[in-house]
């Protein structure tokens, strides 16, 4: 009964039959595999197929094999980060019922960055695990703050107010970050990684501690799919259909915060992935979150791997950080979404 209601809420969902969605799923998986393969094979240095096979197995005898061995964790990190950000974006757009929600635009990434910098500068934090905890704390605080500011006043949380609150919070956070880092020559070198996100220096040692958080965020987010479908009907209707609105919203938001914090702790702030991916996926599979969320994760992974490849190709022999590529791809999409008169209601 409730499932039917959720489908009714999304008439567009009917256009996307089960068969069509399965076909898209296969296509997306194939694309992900292809992107991963290209990411390992293509880069500043050209390598041959045997080198690639040896390098993937972990051999580092020749330079080419060593290059490939470095690209593997980088590709894995890009896939993880992209998937996490895409999923987080879809969840945030559902929770705030706001087509412009994105961890970067809403200032969540900036909050995570500020928290980590404070942790390093004032509390002497070291080690990825400590960074992840701090980043998640910062992301959570920033998300709660921006949402609170955006929903105060009459009219509730409109896209404009949330985006402005996010922009203001980002500027304030980066001001504080700068003020903390500037006098500390010992940590100022690391500030670069807090201005632009990248996946260049990925190692398994850095990825591993974040995995539990990403997994927890993933399960929480996927588990909230049904709740998000109900929330899409509006709070009253959702409550009438038996959803515990506050709990559904809090659970989903916690999942998104875990994903953003975990990602930002390794990669630094990467914007616009969470904005672009859900809109793309809604075109492919409709607005049912049970399909949308997994698709957002997969598509996000593809997008970030592709952006990373692009960054390696366009700036040869140097590299362009992936956070810059996503901003250039994402900002036009952002403007396009703003220009749509009827942004599809969430």
């Amino acid at each position: 009964m409730k499932v039917v209601a959720a489908e009714d809420a999304a008439p567009a969902g009917r256009r996307h039959g089960r068969r069509g969605r399965l076909a898209w799923l296969l296509a997306v998986l194939a694309l992900l595999a292809a992107a991963g393969g290209v990411s390992i094979g293509v880069g500043t240095r050209e390598v041959s197929l045997p080198d690639i096979l040896n390098g993937v197995q972990g051999r580092t005898d020749t330079l080419a094999e060593a290059v490939v061995a470095v690209r593997v964790p980088r590709t894995i990190l890009a896939a993880l980060a992209g998937g996490a950000l895409g999923l987080a974006g879809a969840v945030m757009q559902g929770v705030t019922r706001n087509p412009l929600a994105d961890p970067g635009i809403l200032g969540v990434n900036a909050g995570a960055g500020l928290a980590v910098v404070i942790g390093i500068a004032w509390f002497g934090l070291t080690g990825t695990l400590a960074f992840v905890w701090t980043a998640i704390l910062g992301a959570g605080l920033a998300a709660a703050f921006v949402y609170a500011v955006g929903s105060l006043g009459r009219g509730g949380a409109t896209p404009l107010k949330l985006a402005l609150a996010g922009a203001a919070t980002s500027i304030a956070a980066s001001s504080f970050t700068t003020a903390i880092v500037l006098p500390r020559g010992d940590i100022a070198g690391g500030v670069r990684s807090w201005q632009v996100g990248g996946v260049g220096g990925a190692t398994y040692d850095a990825i591993l501690p974040c995995l539990p958080f990403l997994l927890a965020g993933l399960s929480l987010s996927l588990a909230s799919a049904r709740g998000l479908n109900l929330l899409a009907l509006g709070d009253e209707a959702a409550a009438g259909l038996g959803a515990r609105v506050a709990w559904a919203r809090a659970g989903a938001a916690l999942g998104a915060v875990l994903l953003c914090g975990g990602t930002t702790a390794i990669c630094g702030p990467i914007g616009f992935v969470g904005l672009v991916v859900p809109h793309l996926c809604r075109l492919l599979v409709g607005v049912d979150h049970r399909w949308l969320l997994p698709f957002a994760a997969l598509t996000g992974a593809i997008l970030l791997i592709a952006a990373d490849i692009l960054g390696r190709i366009v700036a040869r022999p140097s590299e362009m950080d992936v956070g810059i590529v996503t901003a250039f791809v994402g900002a036009p999409v952002f403007v396009w979404i703003v220009r749509q008169r009827r942004v599809r209601e969430l």
């Binding site: 409109t158 107010k161 922009a167 304030a172 201005q195 403007v335």
Partner: protein
């Protein structure tokens, strides 16, 4: 009171207008005096205190051992550039806010400052230009970005909300362009990066004051001359046209002047965060409602940069550029405006 009431209506209006003009002039004079006092203080008090007489003698061109270098090379350029840049930002900002009838539509929020800054960074770091060429490129880029934002926001009429959102997206893109150019630069320093991302007066020299002064004279003069038309535009396009404003020409001139002011100042100090956004509302709060407070806004902008720069240099535990200080002050005000806003549309 009764005497005033018995006067003919026209005379009463004229008297009220004269009184308002007088009070405006008084306020502007007061602000200018405060600004002059602030400027004098920043010349006298720094790491060490220089007596006022010594400052006067240095400014008069005499050689004062111990103080000459500090004042002529360090304090004076900073103070002069802070005042000039602050005036440019304040004036440019209040013009945009008035014309678009929205305190959020200031050039630093809708991305015009980022456009000028990005162009300046590319010109300086990549092309190795300097001086007037940089200012020129910054003005052109500012105008292009302004036109792009305007056109992108134009759909079934112009909506302020859409313009602001488009501007947020565009400035995110331009900021990442700035970061990319700077991070890829061979001699990358944090100070350079900060200048172009948040604005700073570190390392300015007096000859950099020349382009800003010229811009203030030309564009500022133009804006002051057009302020009645700007005032009329607040009533809406139809009413303004009925009052004799040549909308297309005047609007183009006003946008050109405001963007020119912002861009030339940005090409020297970087986009000092939130000055354009803060000056107008503060000036209106001081000067009261009525005609757009152009001169007060310029003076308030100068004051904000001067004080922010001084605080960043001497009052805080660490030395930080002025943009960091004003960013930390301006963001809460922006949040306050959002909370107070009466939910007028998100699309």
């Amino acid at each position: 009171m009764t005497e005033a009431a018995s006067l003919p209506l026209a005379a009463r209006i004229a008297a009220g207008r004269r009184a308002r003009t007088r009070s405006r002039r008084r306020i502007a004079g007061l602000l200018a005096a405060v600004l002059a006092a602030g400027g004098a203080l920043t010349l006298m008090v720094g790491q060490s205190v220089t007596p006022a007489m010594d400052v006067m003698r240095v400014l008069a061109g005499q050689d004062v051992p111990g103080a000459g270098f500090t004042i002529r090379e360090l304090r004076l350029p900073r103070a002069v550039l802070a005042v000039l840049a602050g005036m440019s930002f304040g004036l440019g900002g209040v013009v945009f806010q008035t014309m678009l009838r929205n305190p959020l539509a200031s050039p630093d929020i809708i991305g015009i400052s980022s456009g000028a800054s990005a162009a300046a960074v590319v010109a300086i770091v990549v092309l190795g230009w300097s001086g007037a060429a940089v200012s020129g490129v910054a003005i052109i880029a500012g105008l292009v970005v302004a036109a792009a934002i305007y056109l992108l926001a134009l759909k079934d009429g112009l909506s302020g909300a859409r313009m602001i959102l488009v501007g947020i997206g565009i400035s995110a893109m331009l900021d990442s362009l700035i970061a990319y150019v700077l991070l890829g630069a061979p001699s990358w320093t944090l100070q350079d990066a900060l200048r172009w991302l948040t604005g700073s007066t570190n390392g300015v020299t007096l000859d950099q004051a020349v382009p800003i002064s010229c811009a203030l004279l030309v564009f500022g003069g133009l804006l002051i001359g057009l302020r009645r038309n700007l005032d009329a535009m607040r009533l809406g396009d139809d009413a303004a046209a009925a009052l004799g404003v040549r909308l297309t020409r005047d609007r183009a001139l006003i946008v050109l002047s405001a963007v020119g002011l912002i861009a030339v100042a940005t090409a020297v100090t970087g986009p000092i965060a939130f000055i354009a956004f803060l000056s107008g509302p503060i000036a209106t709060a001081i000067a009261g409602p009525g005609r757009p407070a152009l001169m007060p806004a310029a003076l308030v902008g100068a004051m904000l940069v001067l004080v922010g720069d001084y605080a960043g240099q001497h009052l805080l535990p660490a030395r930080v550029p002025v943009g960091v200080v004003t960013g930390a002050i301006g963001a809460p005000y922006l949040l306050y405006l959002i909370v107070r806003s009466h939910g007028q549309g998100g699309r």
